[in-house]
Symmetry: C2
Subunit: 356 residues, 2 copies
């Protein structure tokens, strides 16, 4: 088995902590490690360090190199530009296939939170078993704990007998992010799981699925594969990426594939999609306030403060997020935390790139 | 006539712009000049620069000297420590009396806002006329425009005939800061004015009033007066200030004095008591937002932002004040702007003096 960590994201919802040169995966949003470092540590319990691959893009090369010191340099793959997950996984697949035609890939985002390494390991091990045995594409589904509207869902079909501690199902359908009423129905029905974005499959099975459902992507990746180790590699990579269509592995592959299984993960998982999730997961004082750095609260409740230096004082407010970092300040109603991306877009239009 | 500007305040309600070494009067809260500079400019239309005296305290000597370059150095009086307004005015009075036994003092806080210099001049000129003619203590009352609960009020009695453009009344009572219901009654009655803290009287009349109502204060000030110009001055000043009781001119003198008049000022006056007042007076965009420095608003209304550098982004909030200055950030519900002082007290208790 190989770990493939997708680290090309450039999320803007954690501004001003995330910046153009410091994407979300490089932030310590939970615990002392950056999210990508926590992901690597998690995978290091599953596979040796030299079987972990990182796929990122050139703009993030410096940060990736700094955060992934234990990963061999040759395993750091940098796309010329991001073309979404189907291509990103494909690039890792062709590189790994060159050395190991029987490779099984455990693919994961670099910027999500997973607690309980033991359960995670059991889940991935089960997924690898089925990826090998049935040559299926296996996705990790998470037992939902609330009617989340920010996640995609997986509807489970027939359960496949395995060990008592791990449940495995055929996938009936993938459902896009639902509205609240639908999410509540999903939760009630008991046969919907959150789509975690973690996948396990044989590299050759994945490429065969690409060949069937995204033939142009497959052809491009095979051209790159043919150039690995040659002086032409950079040129070919550039050329293919310029032409290749960006598409996600969910829409481009998983939804069309014939044999898709899901292993139900019972570990705590959170995509840390916004400051709201970070607040919800963090420690609070008796007034529900959560502070990192110097913060002082007066008549205030259920607030999240991050202050990289100096001090933040809050008076008479509830349910706010206040972030002070690098000369920029964000003040946001917690329930509007998703709209930080709108703020970043507005700043771009206002020629404020230097603060992004 | 002489101008006496009281500049010893150390207001904490404008933190983090006001700091222990930069009190409110040194901030530019309206227009480009600091409040003390605006006050000086206003008085420079009434009296020559060498008839303007500043009373502040030693801790603020550097800032006073920087902001009051047009005032002769000898006219800058620094109290060893602040002992409230009755004493502060008394110190200026004994200094001015040494040179001019007929001096009329126009006494004013240094940190309030007055718009319309012409009306201000007419009001003070009328007050000086009555201060001379009737040897009264004259206070400037402001026609209330709203049922403010943050100001003291003056109840007017019999009107005294003067010029058509200026109304002068005997003072019936001084009323402390009312609750809202009382303030509404005051406004409705038509015979209450806001107590502006601006006074006009002969220096000798003021000292006679001190002798009658605050004899210890009077005796102390006379000791200081006797030492002016001698090598003993500093010693005497220290000794008197260590013993003298701090009391305001309102409670200590005006409320007990027999002949008190009030001149009704029709100029726009505001004590700039909190960020809320600064917001209300400032320019707003179509969403009611007011920004100084870089600020970006998403789904936000009626907010006030001051950012000394960098940028402040606001998402999904209404009626907030956000101040970024000198590494500190204040986020405050507008209606709780008065409670910034509680925040400062809390920071003191938490040993955060370095941010104050």
């Amino acid at each position: 088995m190989y770990g493939v960590i997708m680290a090309g994201g450039s999320g803007t919802r954690f501004w001003p902590r995330s910046r153009s040169d410091r994407a979300k995966q490089f932030l310590s949003l939970y615990g002392k490690h950056s999210l990508i470092q926590s992901t690597l540590l998690r995978f290091s319990h599953l596979v040796p360090w030299d079987r972990i691959y990182i796929v990122s893009n050139r703009a993030q090369k410096k940060m990736v190199t700094e955060h992934c010191l234990n990963v061999p340099r040759d395993n750091l793959l940098f796309e010329p530009l991001s073309k979404n997950t189907a291509v990103c996984i494909g690039l890792a697949a062709v590189h790994i296939l060159e050395n190991d035609p029987d490779a099984v890939l455990a693919v994961s985002p670099s910027d999500h939170l997973v607690l309980d390494k033991k359960k995670f390991k059991d889940t991935i091990t089960a997924a690898a078993h089925f990826a090998e045995e049935s040559r299926s594409l296996v996705t990790i589904g998470i037992l939902p704990s609330r009617p989340a509207t920010g996640y995609g869902y997986i509807q489970t079909g027939e359960e496949i007998a395995y060990r008592s501690s791990v449940q495995v199902f055929r996938v009936k359908t993938f459902a896009e992010k639902p509205n609240l009423a639908t999410a509540e129905m999903f939760l009630k029905s008991g046969d919907f799981l959150w789509n975690s974005g973690i996948f396990v499959f044989r590299a050759d099975v994945y490429l065969a699925a690409l060949e069937e459902h995204l033939p142009d992507t497959h052809d491009g990746l095979r051209k790159i594969q043919a150039a690995i180790g040659s002086v032409r590699y950079e040129d070919v990579l550039q050329r293919v990426y310029r032409q290749i269509r960006g598409v996600s592995v969910d829409y481009g592959v998983m939804e069309h594939a014939r044999s898709v299984l899901t292993v139900r993960g019972n570990f705590l998982w959170n995509d840390l999609g916004s400051w709201e999730q970070v607040y919800l997961l963090g420690k609070k004082d008796k007034d529900g306030n959560s502070a990192h750095g110097n913060a002082v609260f007066v008549n205030s409740r259920n607030a999240y403060v991050y202050s990289s230096k100096g001090v933040v004082g809050i008076v008479g407010l509830e349910d706010v997020v206040v972030i002070q970092d690098g000369g920029a300040v964000l003040v946001c109603k917690r329930e509007e935390a998703e709209n930080v991306k709108l703020l970043v877009e507005k700043m771009k239009r206002a020629n404020m790139e230097k603060y992004l």
